[in-house]
């Protein structure tokens, strides 16, 4: 038995050659274009009369190194708060969304309360909720008052729960009524229908905006610093006040972006997968 290797026809070889040339050409053009724009930006920024001054006060490596431990300690607080508050807000949002979609006149008060909650906490500025919970509530001087961090976390959960509830509700209402009708006609109860038919589809559909809100939450957890705890941005502010140099802020900014990248990557991937599924790929 002889094995004959596949030999592409001359026409095929020509086609491949042509494609290779086109690929190389487009890579070269992209590289040249990027280099040109990059150079232009670099010249425009570094050639500015105040560049030296800006660089000295925003991009000082020594100051960044000195500020790193303090800013990292603060970032650890941000991270812990983020995990707790994200889980809390997702849970609260889901519960409120389900309550808002309950049918039947007997549930009207519950629906009204849930609706009122989403209206109030989406409208209220987060800072005000934080002030009330972290500086107002402890003023009651009740026994067993939780720490400022717990109260601040609660404020974040309440505010972001409102946003997430509306995203969940949009997901639930996007499930076609025929699905419900089909489920009920199969003999599933309302609760079973929600659990096995509606919610899985709803959550999958709204996963990208949910994750997007979590990314936004990541930046806002630092606002608890107004009640006293030192988060990454506050740590940078303290360092800046001591050195009159803004490099610590840039450092904190870079760390926040690094922290957000995994979350953003997951969001992008989920969005892409949802889009593929929609187009029947």
């Amino acid at each position: 038995m002889s094995t004959t290797r596949h030999v592409p026809s001359p026409a095929q070889r020509a086609r491949e050659e042509y494609r290779r040339r086109q690929t190389t050409l487009s890579v070269l053009i992209a590289a040249a274009s990027t280099a040109a724009i990059g150079t232009l930006l670099a010249i425009a920024v570094t050639g500015a009369p105040g560049w030296e001054r800006v660089r000295a006060s925003f991009l000082d490596p020594q100051i960044a190194r000195d500020a790193l431990p303090a800013v990292l300690t603060g970032l650890w607080l941000n991270l812990r708060l983020l995990v707790c508050c994200a889980l809390g807000a997702l849970l609260l949002g889901l519960i409120i969304a389900i309550l808002r979609t309950l049918r039947g006149p007997v549930f009207f008060p519950i629906r009204a309360l849930a609706t009122g909650y989403t209206y109030a906490f989406r409208g209220l500025p987060l800072i005000i909720v934080l002030y009330v919970l972290t500086l107002g509530v402890p003023g009651l001087r009740l026994q067993g008052m939780p720490s400022v961090l717990v109260l601040g976390g609660l404020a974040l959960v309440l505010t972001y729960g409102g946003y997430l509830a509306e995203v969940f509700r949009a997901g639930i209402e996007s499930v076609h009524p025929s699905q419900l009708a089909a489920a009920r006609s199969l003999g599933l109860t309302y609760r079973q229908t929600m659990r096995h038919v509606v919610l899985p589809q709803a959550v999958r559909r709204v996963a990208p905006p949910l994750l997007n809100d979590v990314v936004a939450l990541q930046k806002d957890v630092g606002l608890v610093s107004l009640a006293g705890p030192i988060d990454a941005v506050r740590a940078a502010q303290i360092e800046t006040a001591q050195s009159f140099n803004y490099t610590p802020y840039i450092l904190a900014g870079v760390l926040f972006v690094l922290l957000a990248i995994p979350l953003i990557a997951v969001t992008d991937r989920v969005t892409l997968r949802a889009a593929r599924r929609q187009s029947g790929g």
């Binding site: 425009a44 402890p138 003023g139 006293g228 705890p229 502010q237 303290i238 006040a241």
Partner: protein, 288 residues
Amino acid sequence: MVSTPRIRTLATAGAVLFAVTACAPQSEPAPQPTASGANACAKENLPTQTPGKLTIATDEPAYQPWFVDNKPDSGEGFESAVAYAVAEKLGYTRDEVVWTRVKFDSAIAPGPKTFDFDINQFSITDERKKAVDFSAPYYLVRQTVIALKSSKIAGKTSLADLRDAKLGAQVGTTSYQAITDLVKPTQQPQVYNSNDDAKKALQNGQLDGLVVDLPTAFYITAAEIEDAVIVGQFPQVGTPEAFGLLLDKDSPLTGCVSNAVGQLSADGVLKELEQRWLAQVAGAPELT
């Protein structure tokens, strides 16, 4: 010159950046005028408002512990005592000192003055130096810890006693620096956007002690939080705010008054007055 789009782009970008950086603050402190000679500061050569008299101004009303009972001419209270000490250095007896009342805001505004110098807790700033003159500083603002009477640190006398306390301060202040550099607390200090937030936390019992500067401490404990007390003053830390005597812009007296304050400081008189009127009478003892 040929103006290509590229050059125009660069010029625009440059102009924008220049406009941004042009807003940067400038720090050119005005030079302090100095006395030309000892003789120029002799009493008979001083061109005061009223010849032979020294006119000193302060605000109406004048508060404790800087003045006592709103009577600057009593010589009681820290600033009243400092004013008389300066007058004495310049060669004026108590009878030759005349007090006048000028509002804080109009004193720091440019314009003709009705006094030779004004003493009213004026912080020396570059901004104000554009409109008025300042003498050498007679008081460097100290950081002070205040607490509720019920707090565990009320009545403590040493820095070591504060180590385990939960302390708070406003962000970016010397107060915060006093906590981290002098107390070195075992718990992370709480940091607030403003003293108002910090005061609320103190009232709520979320803080054992709040660090503010001494004048603020007097105001908070006297007027704002009734059941708060001053625990004590910290040793000097960071770049403190400094109080100076205020004079008319380019006043011929500035150099002489400045010299007088400098001598009082070197003789230890200012330190003594501070000890007497702020630490003992006003109840802001030193933390050791």
